[in-house]
Amino acid sequence: MSKKEQLISELKLIIRPYVQDEFAFENLNEDTDFIADLKINSANLVDVILDIEDKYDIVLDNESMDKMLNVKAAMEVINTKVSEK
């Protein structure tokens, strides 16, 4: 499994409890949008962010939160924050 695939599968585990659209979740890819595709509400998006912080031991600010609209952007933010540690 490549590093990217590994990260996507980790993200899927984090996102799963908050997903409203199961079909979109099964077909999750880099372009999947958290709100438009997975129908995660804004309150649960905060939970996703907090779970990501715990999992990768990073702190996300408002700027990161605003960027993290889809899977690809989330992976970029995680990689950046992890490399800054």
């Binding site: 509400n41 804004s42 309150a43 649960n44 998006l45 905060v46 939970d47 962010i49 907090l50 408002n62 939160m65």
Partner: protein, 145 residues
């Protein structure tokens, strides 16, 4: 921010204001009371000839004191000066232990789990005048959506 100022900022009014008095508030939590007037309309229907405060009203009371009043304090503390408060309840999980009858006064205690990215999540508990636990759970909402 004084306690009356917090209550004045609440976006509720009679017959749906369920905050009587705020007793204490700081960065970590809030406590407050409310007395259920026997004249409340819902007692006529819940239940027939046997008035008991509905669980949803107990939950609402915990949300108004434990989440909204607390959130107003936290927003003010963080320098947020918006006058128009837009809020939404996003989740609640509650367990109920004792009935609350018309005229009873309850105490609500709320402790912050987190307040991040506008989402406030709290552990809340309600006690009757004997100090018995009435209900307990977790409530979350978005402050300033």
């Amino acid at each position: 921010m004084t306690y009356p100022e917090i209550i004045a900022k609440l976006p509720y009014q009679h017959p749906f204001l369920f905050v009587g008095e705020i007793l204490e508030v700081d960065e970590n939590g809030i406590s407050g009371t409310y007395t259920y007037e026997a004249a409340h309309n819902f007692y006529k229907g819940h239940f027939k000839d046997n008035p008991v405060t509905p669980g949803v009203i107990l939950t609402e009371t915990m949300a108004q004191i434990g989440l909204v009043a607390f959130g107003i304090y936290l927003l003010d503390k963080s320098g947020n000066t918006t006058t128009e408060l837009k809020i939404a309840l996003t989740s609640s999980e509650m367990n109920f232990f004792k009935p609350v009858f018309p005229g009873e006064k309850v105490l609500v205690k709320s402790t912050k789990e987190y307040f991040r990215f506008s989402k406030l999540k709290c552990k809340v508990a309600m006690f009757n005048e004997n100090g018995d636990l009435v209900c307990r759970g977790k409530i979350a909402g978005m402050m300033n959506i």
